[in-house]
Symmetry: C2
Subunit: 345 residues, 2 copies
């Protein structure tokens, strides 16, 4: 059986090993991974995989995968088309593409699989992947494949901004400037929202928030984000984006929010959480949860990057090869040093 190299999650550990080389089936494309970003969700999954599998089963009714078997993660990628499988229509071999990390073998829930969170479909921490041929998007304008790999995380921010319903004339507070919070800042900036107030403990992350378009950045230990917002605007409608994803943040946003504010939760909190409903009631708050993106948002994000409307280069803080993946997972613990690490198999 032909093999390829991959960073594999096996029995809760991340190791680099040989795994079966994938063979494209009907409607599938075999691609060579060019670049793949390491996502915070992958760090969570390595640590709390079983809880994530259980929560997914519990909340959606669908079992993602079996953690007793190998999983090759990596869902923020660009790639080169190597070969189209039987009956597969798509960009010809040699084309640089990206794609939503979704394998679409049909149109029922059982036919849709998450590339990078699957036992069957290895993600971008490997030399080669299978993708759904109809889902492939050609990377336009000769865009650097390393930048194209950031389409996925940036699309998460674009979707959150659309879901929030924010419109020019309204203002935004972004709590947390990890890759998700920074993607939200970039999408808000692209949507013409002003001012954007962003908060993070890390000076490096605050600097990145400014680079991505935040008008005011604060260390919440020194000044609460909502106070900074009151200082720079304090009058117009405000949407609070919760992009931290730890217990207590939703309630913190509910406490901070002015009357009639919207809270958009894009941080992924996997623990149980506690709220005081009276804050929601007395201020008539609205809380919207966002996850992922729609295909048009993904395509629009790729185009925005390719046309230079969003510069994602500053987010990439280092690059590693497959052997460097386990070390990169450890390095991402320090927000001062790292933001987005790209794997280049």
């Amino acid at each position: 059986m032909p093999l390829m190299r991959a960073a594999v999650m096996r029995k809760g550990q991340l190791i680099v090993d040989d795994v079966p080389d994938p063979v494209p089936g009907p409607g599938q494309a075999l691609v060579r991974t060019l670049a793949c970003g390491i996502c915070g969700s992958d760090l969570h999954f390595l640590k709390y995989g079983q809880r994530m599998v259980d929560l997914s089963k519990e909340t959606t009714g669908v079992a993602m995968l079996d953690l007793g078997r190998d999983v090759v993660m990596g869902h923020e990628f660009s790639a080169e088309v190597l070969e189209l499988g039987p009956d597969a229509a798509g960009p010809k071999p040699g084309t640089v593409v990206t794609s939503m990390p979704v394998m679409l073998n049909g149109f029922s829930m059982e036919d849709i699989r998450a590339v990078g969170y699957s036992n069957e479909y290895p993600g971008g921490y490997s030399e080669r992947m299978l993708l759904s041929a109809p889902m492939l998007l050609e990377v336009p304008n000769g865009l650097d494949p390393r930048l194209a790999a950031l389409t996925e995380p940036m699309a998460v921010g674009a979707h959150a901004v659309v879901k929030s319903g924010i419109t020019p004339g309204e203002t935004a507070v972004v709590l947390g400037c990890g890759p998700v919070g920074l993607a939200v800042v970039a999408a808000l900036s692209l949507a013409g929202i002003e001012p954007i107030v962003a908060a993070d403990f890390s000076p490096a992350r605050r600097q990145l928030a400014t680079t991505m378009g935040a008008h005011e950045v604060v260390d919440p230990r020194e000044e609460p984000a909502i106070e900074a917002w009151r200082r720079v605007d304090g009058v117009r409608n405000v949407v609070l984006f919760e992009a931290v994803g730890v217990p207590g943040m939703i309630q913190a946003a509910m406490k901070d929010a002015p009357r009639w504010a919207r809270i958009l939760v894009v941080g992924v909190c996997m623990e149980d959480d506690s709220i005081v409903p009276m804050y929601g009631i007395n201020k008539e708050l609205e809380i919207r949860f966002a996850l992922g993106y729609m295909p048009n948002e993904f395509a629009d994000t790729l185009n925005a990057i390719a046309e230079g409307k969003v510069d994602v280069a500053p987010l990439i803080t280092s690059e590693v090869d497959l052997d460097g993946v386990p070390g990169a997972f450890d390095a991402l613990a320090d927000p001062e040093e790292q933001c987005k690490i790209l794997v280049r198999p």
Copy 2:
């Protein structure tokens, strides 16, 4: 000092006693209470008054009142105008009116007081009240003042329905058929929503829900409300109205809600509560909190009752005089016997 009879909250007890007869100031009207509904909030307030005062101060920054002093509750009323104070323009003496229970002495937060939750302004559990003359609404069509007194609780339902953004073609599930849940059912019915599925443990309350316009009613111990909704529709967008107001109900609604559903929280839960954010995230739910109503919603509700579009008579399960108020508070503990008790001073 002239006195009047009232049911007074004094040191956490409800007693019937003489209190100072109010004298109308500038912009105020002195009215004679004709009918006043007993609200679940008043039962809460008698039991957990200090917590409600603290939560209000904490969440809105405004101190409602001092529980060390007398409070005459009652905020769902109709009344007859007796006398207009200095510089007060309003309906002439003898006119039957209702009003939002708000004393508007000016336009800053400190100038706005809640009639019925105030040390200065006695509510409808008394012979006479002061109201804001510009807030008075003449009861039209010769509507029975006992029915006009239900404008306030029905307006809470109308506001919740507006806040939910529900439109014809969407469907509704109402969790809890106390007066608030029933007001929601009535407002949904008036808005042409179909089907409306309502759930309550009490057969009498379920019967009232049907009377108010619910198309399907269930005992949630026998069939979860969302299963009943799946049985009668299960396809179109659904808005879940949480009208119970005890801990765990928001999470129960989040667990029941299908993907992309909206949850409108109109039940007033005064305890801390626990949620699992992953339900919100994986299903991209939206949670909106509603409180009270807007002046136009209040006026529209009065007109809908007066024009016979909403029949509130079935909600009134008994009437008492002022001496009967303490006993009526006890009687409301049994949802099988009582729904709305009217006080007729």
